[in-house]
Symmetry: C2
Subunit: 337 residues, 2 copies
């Protein structure tokens, strides 16, 4: 177990050592640590060594924030200039806030920035400012179409954050049935996959995690989940001018520029009387509704992440020994434990 | 079989006979007939007798178009004034188009309008104007949360239309696993439901369609589909000021005002070189990718609807005898067959 404050400090230090401005290092570290705290290690410190390698090679430019061009009064086009993903995203978000007061809705379309990490981060940032946030991102081709067997789509996640009178509603999901991280983790542990998760490189359904790594993951929710993943793929590429999945590189390697895209839509929900309270009351009615299993109450998206975060802040983050060794090895004199 | 032109004419005549202005009658009939042509009878002429009854009772006001209030430069609030759903939607869409040139993105939030029918209609209308359209709508509580057994959410559909160099990409799906229409149709035919589709009124999983009618339908895609359905529920209510599912009435009855909400987001995709051609090329690569079953090529959302429409325009629409009788009975001297 490592404590959150120490992990944050060490991660930021490693980034600063490679020329990342202190504020930017803090933000990039925050996005990684917040993923760890929520029990999402696939978007946590695991990504840091690769990110540092990308900085060393000039594939990520730690002082860049992205070049802003307002194509219209409410649509911001961003050339990320190889910025760290979180830096480009938050710079766009801050630039959108004043426009939001006039327009009520604004969209940022970002290309040429690095991996933005856990999408929920930005949905929460929006909700913390009292506005609705919708985040979309694309990735390398990892997912096969419904009825298909070749990796043609990214995992194309979406996050939606909505302010309420209590904790905000925060949804964050990939349109793949499982993450490629989960396939890799099953492969590492030699565990079989569940039926229907993946196909191998020749397109045959497989429960062999090693074979699946070279094949494709199923979309979630059959035809509907495939349809949504594909719609998000097209939306991002159409608006950000980024590449489509089969041509995307640079979020899973340390050798190619990142050519995926990211969208951020912010909407001012206005100040209707009782709006926030009504949403909270409804979410609480859902939580209190009759569960399928008497001992497992109905949850609202974000509940689990919040509980895991509280526990991890108290007890520490569980980092695998191999990752810890790697983090110590990549340099710096910060003691992680 | 009835031919499309005749059906269109008769439906419009019935609406005009009840005081609907000719253009509005044409549009409302078009939305119903286009659903029939695409093989979506649950959103077709089946809805017409109830709609006429709603007009007779003043629950639908056929000459209303909705009261427009631009809350900000790009957010249009619409009090539907009990208008027919398609009339309120298309009036909002037309009002948004000039704003789109300046803002690049615009949102309409509509409350107090009647059922808008098949959402794909508006996504297609947007795409036909060269812009991206995203449509959301809410409904009576019919869907249980993932891990729950009570109907707490609407079927909360989404449609996304994206212009390409060829036919537009059009996705239209409900966030329920199946439609309540499908449950009713199984009940009528005495067929059992598939496992996992529904629970009965006491929350027990059931394959009895009659029992399911008084219970709840499962969300699609387990926790993820539930999360999306819930996010759409909150988005619509927060922005339109409409009710949340448990309090919603008026799309399945002929006795209550419609208090659900509808959202329409339009986005100008700009004029990036090769954008539309790139999207078409990608969709064709997906269609040409290796299928799971050699005799069933991979489809793109909207392909099936387009094929069914072509066939129905040629061969006619298959209307059940009971519905045809009902349509003849509601009045007018138009011969449907």
């Amino acid at each position: 177990m490592i404590m959150e404050a120490r992990a944050r400090q060490c991660a930021a230090r490693l980034l600063e050592d490679r020329g990342t401005p202190p504020d930017a290092a803090c933000l990039q570290a925050d996005v990684l640590i917040e993923a760890e705290l929520r029990g999402l290690p696939s978007h946590g410190l695991l990504r840091l060594p690769r990110l540092l390698a990308r900085i060393d090679k000039g594939l990520a430019v730690p002082a860049a924030v992205g070049l802003h061009h307002w194509r219209t009064t409410a649509v911001l086009e961003v050339d990320g200039q190889r910025a760290l993903g979180p830096i480009a995203m938050m710079a766009a978000l801050e630039a959108m806030m004043p426009r939001l007061q006039v327009a009520g809705i604004a969209l940022a379309a970002i290309r040429n920035a690095n991996h933005i990490g856990m999408l929920a981060y930005y949905a929460e940032q929006a909700a913390a400012r009292g506005v609705i946030g919708i985040v979309l991102s694309t990735s390398e081709a990892l997912v096969h179409p419904y009825g298909g067997t070749q990796a043609m789509l990214g995992t194309n996640p979406i996050a939606i954050g909505i302010p309420t009178a209590d904790e905000p509603f925060v949804l964050d999901l990939a349109t793949s049935l499982v993450s490629m991280g989960k396939i890799h983790s099953h492969a590492l542990r030699g565990e079989p996959l569940s039926d229907g998760w993946a196909v191998d490189s020749s397109g045959r359904p497989t429960t062999d995690a090693l074979a699946a790594k070279h094949g494709a993951i199923a979309p979630f929710g059959q035809a509907k989940g495939y349809g949504l993943g594909l719609a998000f793929e097209l939306l991002v590429a159409a608006l950000a001018g980024s590449d489509l999945a089969p041509a995307i590189r640079g979020t899973l390697d340390a050798s190619e520029p990142a050519n995926k895209g990211d969208l951020l839509i912010l909407i001012d929900p206005g100040t209707r009387d009782g709006l926030a309270a009504g949403l909270t009351e409804y979410l609480n009615a859902i939580r209190a509704s009759r569960p399928l299993h008497p001992d497992r109450p109905v949850a609202v998206p974000g509940d689990g992440a919040r509980h895991r975060r509280i526990a991890a802040l108290r007890d520490g983050i569980d980092i695998p020994a191999a990752l810890l060794d790697e983090l110590q090895r990549v340099g710096g004199d910060c003691k992680w434990t």
